[in-house]
């Protein structure tokens, strides 16, 4: 009787998740094995099962590899940069000398809660070649104006800078909380032994923070692989597809060209890739910190 009543609490939520998440994920796997396109959208009779052809076609498409490389660029440069900024800010906030901690934490976290579409408007203007503040500031260092969003060499760095600004506060707050759990006696003992700040950082702070740092890194890598919204609002994948990420490719294939079979294949490849990388990272982390 009571067991039956419990279902009244969970059944609605589970039903929604099954119908609007698990079912679409399973359908994506099936769709990726078909040639679902605009003709099938009009009449399901045009739908054919094609096996792994979407995947094989994808591997043979230069644009797919370009998207993979762009995404890797974003992850390999963006994640360390983002983590370094987060960690530096967390360390500063945690320093005993820090004043107005609450204010600084709020200020540094603010970009995380802002609306992406709105702050993209600001940043597109900051990046403006002629009137942008960034080129104006660089002018003082004697650097000629850069066409940030129009030059294929600079578009991805511009996206990375924007993403780091928008996101670093999130990890900063988690790392800051991790730092606060390290016991003060450890530092006092180190100071009595005459350890410098760098030595304390190297032998106390970083080892104690390592589990949190590992968790944050794994989540950030998985998140950065899903690069989509930033190029969507800033560059539409351009110029010359230099900011075309894997998910942006999926979006274009699916909702611009209506190749829904191909789009699903792209989504699955990315999912398997993220899954493999995450498992690998977890294994490495467990080896280092068997907990």
């Amino acid at each position: 009787m009571r067991r039956l009543q419990a279902w009244w609490f969970v059944a609605p939520a589970l039903a929604v998740i099954c119908v609007f998440f698990f079912l679409p994920v399973a359908a994506a796997l099936v769709l990726s094995l078909t040639d679902f396109d605009i003709y099938a959208l009009a009449d399901l009779g045009n739908l054919r099962f094609v096996g792994l052809r979407n995947y094989l076609d994808l591997v043979a498409t230069p644009l797919f590899w370009k998207a993979v490389l762009n995404t890797l660029y974003f992850v390999i440069v963006g994640v360390p940069l983002s983590l370094c900024v987060s960690l530096a800010c967390a360390l500063l906030l945690n320093a005993r000398a820090a004043r107005f901690r609450g204010f600084f934490r709020t200020a540094l976290f603010a970009p995380v809660v802002t609306t992406l579409v709105a702050v993209a408007v600001i940043w597109r203007y900051l990046y403006n070649t002629r009137y942008g503040l960034l080129n104006y500031a660089l002018g003082f260092a004697g650097i000629d104006p850069i066409d940030w969003l129009g030059d294929p060499r600079f578009a991805m760095p511009a996206i990375i800078l924007f993403a780091v600004w928008k996101n670093f506060g999130y990890n900063m707050v988690i790392l800051f909380a991790g730092l606060q759990t390290i016991r003060e006696e450890l530092y006092e003992a180190a100071r009595i032994d005459g350890a410098t700040y760098v030595k304390q950082l190297r032998y106390i702070t970083l080892p104690m923070l390592a589990p949190v740092l590992a968790l944050v890194s794994i989540l950030t890598v998985a998140g950065y692989f899903q690069l989509f919204a930033e190029p969507y609002v800033m560059t539409q994948g351009g110029p010359l597809q230099s900011t075309m990420s894997v998910l942006y490719l999926m979006y274009e294939e699916g909702f611009k060209w209506w190749n829904l079979g191909t789009a699903s294949a792209v989504a699955f490849v990315l999912f398997l890739f993220i899954f493999a990388v995450t498992v690998l990272e977890l294994r490495l982390a467990r080896q280092r910190f068997p907990a």
Partner: protein, 269 residues
């Protein structure tokens, strides 16, 4: 030495905070400039003659009032409905016995690794078949329950003492009465946390199957406006202020709850 250290730490924090907030401050400054004023070199930092003309223009001719109302209404609707679903389910996963509870929970936890975009294409087809494309139902219905929300509430509900619930059962209270009278008051902090998360997330989202302009929310409208008005920097900045200011104010007012949720949510690994 000591005072130099204090100056270094606080000077660094102040500098980083200034750089972080500069784009937001500049957004407000440009939104108060007269049309064309910001397209100059060197870029002006403060308006020569501050004016609210851009805001008036947005409300009078760009339909901002309607988009603002849409954003508020849709965010509140998604938040209220999803709170009901997620809080009930999260509590059940923590405290109620039902067949397959552990297996369901493991399945949900495992599903957290699947990027939501994997479901994007079939979800669109599903909504199309259900006739929900281009309606708020198409936004609200898939958002009614979230794995993250259930997980957040469950983690918090685990700390409710079983004795409280048992005592109420012995008194003859039904499970629904126990939930309403005993459990819900205890879950209040996490309910506020989840409400803030959902409100901010819904307000900021823009990847929705809405093509009818009358249904646009602020971010959707801003994205489409910025394609039409690439040159009108001052007008666009006013739109950006209107879109971000409400979420910033909400966050600052309730940040204690937001940060708590962020902590609970990040230990999911």
């Amino acid at each position: 030495m000591k005072s130099r250290h204090v100056a270094f730490v606080n000077g660094s924090l102040a500098t980083i905070a200034a750089i972080t907030l500069a784009p937001l401050a500049w957004m407000v400054a440009v939104s108060l400039m007269t049309p064309g004023e910001a397209s100059a070199f060197p870029p002006p930092l403060v308006p020569a003659r501050p004016t609210l003309a851009n805001y008036r223009e947005l409300f009078a001719h760009a339909g901002m009032g309607r988009y603002l109302a849409n954003s508020v209404g849709l965010s509140l609707a998604v938040t209220l409905v999803s709170l009901a679903f997620n809080v009930a389910a999260g509590y059940a996963f923590a405290k109620l016995a039902f067949a397959g509870r552990e297996r369901w929970f493991k399945l949900l936890l495992g599903a957290l690794v699947i990027p939501s975009q994997v479901a994007m294409v079939p979800l669109f087809l599903l909504l199309k078949d259900l006739g929900l494309v281009n309606s708020y139902a198409g936004v609200i219905v898939p958002a009614m329950a979230s794995i993250f929300g259930i997980f957040l509430v469950r983690q918090y509900a685990l700390s409710i003492p079983d004795e409280l619930i048992e005592a109420a059962r012995i008194d003859g209270a039904s499970e629904f009465t126990i939930f309403r009278v005993v459990v819900l008051p205890l879950l209040k902090p996490i309910v506020v946390t989840l409400a803030v998360f959902t409100l901010l997330g819904t307000w900021n989202d823009f990847m929705w199957p809405l093509s009818d302009q009358a249904l646009y929310t602020l971010p959707v409208a801003l994205a489409s406006l910025s394609r039409e008005h690439v040159q009108d920097n001052e007008l666009m900045m006013a739109g950006a202020v209107l879109t971000t200011l409400p979420v910033l104010v909400l966050f600052i007012a309730l940040q204690r709850y937001y940060i708590q949720g962020l902590m609970l949510g990040s230990v999911k690994g």
